[in-house]
């Protein structure tokens, strides 16, 4: 058996399924040597990515959000993909406070980038979007959010 645990989750694009993605990544992060604060960071990052897939990718229509979580020694990798509308300009989309929805704050990517060690975005308009995020064990506390029990 290889020393890599790769779990795949397929979620209908419904808001209540965000918490399922959170639980799965939290459990896998907890099996690595992450702290509570780091697990919370991973949960926020995956919430933002899955919410984006539901809200922007599928625009509230039915579709499947695929979450792949890979735990390997010292690192957690999460890929969130949708087959939704895609992103026209990825650099613009990643800008802080930029959103195509006036009701939203445009901070989703900012959170992902701050809470994970790397965030890669691939997208094809009309075909969908894939966000791959990685976090290494022990890479960062002292990070803004590692404020202990602050929940």
């Amino acid at each position: 058996m290889v020393d890599e645990n790769r779990v795949v989750l397929e979620l209908p694009s419904r808001p209540e399924n965000v918490s399922i993605a959170r639980l799965v990544v939290a459990q896998m992060a907890a099996q690595l040597q992450f702290t509570v604060a780091e697990v919370e960071e991973v949960k926020v990052a995956v919430s933002e990515a899955v919410t984006n897939a539901i809200v922007h990718g599928y625009r509230g229509r039915a579709g499947i959000v695929r979450v792949e979580v890979c735990a390997r020694p010292g690192e957690l990798e999460i890929a969130v993909s949708d087959q939704g509308v895609g992103i026209e300009d990825i650099d613009l989309a990643r800008q802080p406070a930029w959103s195509t929805d006036p009701e939203r704050m445009g901070l989703g990517f900012v959170f992902m980038e701050n809470f994970m060690d790397s965030v890669e975005v691939e997208s094809r308009p009309g075909h969908g979007t894939r966000v791959v995020m990685r976090k290494r064990v022990g890479s960062g506390y002292g990070s803004a959010a590692a404020s202990g029990g602050a929940v």
Binding site: V18, L23, A30, M105, G108
Partner: protein, 77 residues
């Protein structure tokens, strides 16, 4: 089989040990203690070992102790 059910509920996997909220509170308390002892933040696995509960229960408690992410409004405040 009623017997089996009773057995499971009283001693086994069906025992609902404590509410998730109470467990979450314990986690935060023990986190402080362990942080002092270790001089760093404990891992979830270390907290589970100290509390004598499976990692899975801590994960459920930490998720259950906060409101689920709502998609109606942005997740972050």
């Amino acid at each position: 089989l009623g017997e089996i059910r009773r057995h499971l509920r009283d001693d086994g996997p069906l025992r609902v040990s404590r509410s998730l909220k109470a467990l979450a509170q314990q986690v935060y308390r023990v986190q402080d203690d362990l942080s002092k002892e270790l001089g760093r933040e404990p891992t979830v696995a270390e907290l589970a070992a100290r509390l004598g509960v499976p990692v899975e229960e801590i994960v459920a408690a930490l998720e259950g102790s906060r409101p689920p992410a709502s998609i109606q409004e942005p997740i972050h405040e």
